[in-house]
């Protein structure tokens, strides 16, 4: 047991490392070289800590750390079960690769105003939200990552950033306030906000109607954060405005935190009326999928299309949660990992295209297949994976979800998910045709941008994360069986939280 106790502090590492490095980076923020080194070191440290953590969780079960020694439910507990550890690894990977990309793509002015410390604080908030076992602590970590994201979104002060940023700020603050309201009500009813203690005490709580209302408040609050229908309109207004590295990290991590919170709450805490809550989640998932992809089909700017697709894919993750079987949850987890990898990759590809042609508008782009076939291949890997084409990761994620839906007889949502997959493929084909296949616009009045060749060493740094993420998408598809084993074990832990509750409450 002594060995396991010593390992518990691993849970704290993904939070402490980025914080310390962020403070150091902030102190040297006028020196871009130190900034970049520290940013890379911090993100790399988070990734290493995450990998060590997941190995510990895989071998020794749920890792628990009571902050300050105060036992649950009196103090704040950090808990790493397999789901949390997986998400922290995802955060580490995405954070590190986007930091590598930022080394070249983020200009010195933004770096001197604290881009790298802000990115590290964002990573800290994301990891904190994944690792906490207390609802109020979840609110605090949400606010930390929200503040960092506000600053990252508006850093640079272009008009689009300010406009989109204001909507992002307002809607996310409303979401936080709704979350806080629900927290207050839960505390009033039960006297505790520790998730494991709630899981134990809520089935016996009075006023089940009020409990259902509170769970719906949580659904709305986290639904805004996760970009669920009809609460997602802040996302397409804001995600395409900042520099592409910021967009990539937002789309890879921030909506996942909202989905993570929903999954955690509706598998651990709010299980009193699953016939209503999970059916509602299923309906919302279907609507999200459809409205997201229809929005994407109408757009003509590379990043706006991808932003709307992000919304649509959140619908798939919620479909897994709504179906509420082990295979469905495993599919949802697989989907969360696959989507982060692939979507971040697509955003980074759009960034490389921007660096070469100077625009994101589809009508100003073209000819990338002839000019840069490697980039076209990398795009194709991610796009086909997103659309769910075998042998890439998206196929197996969608297959798990569809199989789980068919096993339960929910033919409606399965049909919707397959139709949305077809529309996603259509949208990806549109981007392919416009950006890579067609000839570049040559008429001077058409505003066609010339192709700027990027220096080879800069291009190598820009492309390295793209290659790694594309490789990850391929590997997750080819090695689908080990990945499925991993997420199935995580899903089983979610559906049977006895180990989680026992380890936290110590009984």
């Amino acid at each position: 047991m002594a060995v396991i106790h010593a390992m518990n502090h691993l849970v704290l590492l993904p939070l402490v490392i980025p914080f310390v490095v962020a403070v150091a980076a902030f102190l040297v923020r006028r020196r871009p070289l130190f900034q970049r080194t520290l940013g890379l070191a911090g993100a790399g440290g988070v990734l290493l800590a995450a990998l060590v953590l997941i190995v510990a969780v895989w071998r020794h079960g749920v890792q628990v750390l009571h902050i300050g020694g105060w036992p649950a439910p009196f103090g704040i507990t950090l808990v790493a079960d397999l789901f949390s550890a997986l998400m922290v690894v995802l955060a580490g990977v995405i954070g590190f690769l986007v930091t590598v990309y930022s080394l070249i793509s983020v200009d010195a002015r933004r770096a001197s105003f604290g881009y790298y410390p802000l990115l590290l604080i964002l990573l800290m908030g994301v990891c904190g939200a994944f690792l906490t076992g207390d609802l109020f602590n979840l609110y605090v970590w949400f606010e930390v990552l929200l503040m960092a994201s506000f600053a990252l979104l508006t850093l640079g002060g272009e008009r689009g950033q300010i406009e989109g940023g204001f909507k992002y700020v307002t809607l996310n603050l409303i979401a936080s306030t709704l979350f806080l309201t629900a927290l207050g009500l839960v505390y009033g009813m039960t006297g505790t906000l520790n998730m494991a203690a709630l899981a134990r005490s809520l089935p016996a709580a009075p006023y089940p109607g009020l409990l259902l209302t509170v769970s719906m408040l949580f659904l709305v609050g986290f639904g805004i954060k996760a970009a669920v229908f009809p609460l997602f309109f802040w996302l397409p207004a804001s995600y395409h405005t900042p520099p592409v590295a910021v967009s990539a990290v937002f789309v890879g991590l921030l909506t996942k935190v909202g989905v993570y919170a929903l999954v955690r709450l509706f598998t651990l805490v709010f299980l009193q009326d699953t016939a209503f809550t999970h059916t509602l989640i299923l309906v919302l998932a279907g609507c999200t999928m459809v409205t997201g992809v229809l929005g994407a089909v109408a757009q003509n700017e590379f990043r706006r299309i991808l932003s709307f697709h992000s919304i649509s894919q959140v619908g798939y993750m919620l479909m897994g949660l709504g179906l509420f079987t082990p295979l469905a949850l495993a599919g949802a987890l697989y989907f969360m990992i696959h989507h982060s990898v692939v979507k971040t990759n697509l955003f980074l590809v759009s960034g490389v295209v921007y660096e070469r042609q100077g625009s994101y508008e589809l009508k100003h782009l073209g000819g990338q297949y002839r000019a840069f076939p490697a980039l076209a291949a990398l795009f194709l890997v991610s796009a086909l994976s997103l659309a769910g084409v075998p042998p890439f990761s998206g196929f197996f994620a969608k297959l798990s979800l569809v199989q789980a839906g068919l096993a339960l007889g929910h033919y409606g949502i399965v049909g919707v998910s397959l139709a949305v997959g077809a529309l996603t493929l259509l949208s990806m084909a549109k981007i392919w045709a416009e950006v890579f296949w067609k000839a570049p616009p040559t008429a001077p009045g058409a505003g066609g941008a010339a192709v700027h060749e990027i220096q080879h060493n800069r291009l190598a740094v820009l492309l390295a994360p793209v290659v790694v993420l594309a490789l990850a998408a391929v590997l997750m598809g080819v090695l689908a069986e080990p990945v499925l084993a991993l997420v199935t074990r995580a899903a089983d832990q979610l559906l049977d939280p006895a180990e989680y509750i026992n380890r936290v409450l110590g009984t």
């Binding site: 606010e143 508006t154 406009e163 940023g165 409303i174 306030t177 806080l180 397409p236 003509n300 009508k363």
Partner: protein, 154 residues
């Protein structure tokens, strides 16, 4: 007493939501401030209103005897106030910057990032006008005016 506070909280939420739906930047910020205040008051009320019984163990006792004022929600409220203060400070500066960049206080003037650009070929009028599915810009009609304001492309 709890009923009075409940009514006050309800009124505050109503006022905050009303302000959040206004067109002026300043009113939206005010709405956010009142919303956070209403939530803090809600946490305070919901945890139980106990008068004149601080959570201090009497010298001759070993445990607190209920009822006592619960210190935990007060800690929550303090944290929420501080977070709200930081966030509101940022939102105020952002609103001022938005006013400087856009030149007006009206949220209807700040829609360039969430509408399609006026020369987008997806708009039905453009498809009908140009007679092509995907046209180039040469010879195109001037930008469609939407809702009385002419937007520049995003």
């Amino acid at each position: 007493m709890a009923v009075v506070l409940a009514v006050v909280i309800g009124v505050l939420y109503g006022v905050a939501l009303f302000l959040l739906l206004r067109r002026s930047l300043a009113k939206v910020i005010l709405g956010l401030a009142i919303l956070t205040n209403a939530t803090n008051l809600l946490i305070f009320t919901v945890a139980g209103l106990v008068r004149a019984r601080p959570p201090i163990v009497a010298p001759d006792a070993e445990q607190l005897t209920p009822p006592f004022a619960d210190p935990v929600p007060q800690a929550f409220i303090l944290t929420a106030i501080v977070i709200g203060f930081g966030v509101l400070a940022f939102a105020l500066v952002l609103a001022y910057r938005a006013f400087q960049v856009v030149g007006s206080d009206d949220l209807d003037d700040m829609r360039s990032t969430d509408t399609l650009p006026p020369d987008s070929p997806t708009l039905p009028e453009q498809i009908a006008d140009s007679g092509r599915v995907q046209g180039s810009e040469a010879g195109r009609e001037p930008a469609v005016v939407r809702d009385g304001t002419a937007e520049e492309s995003g």
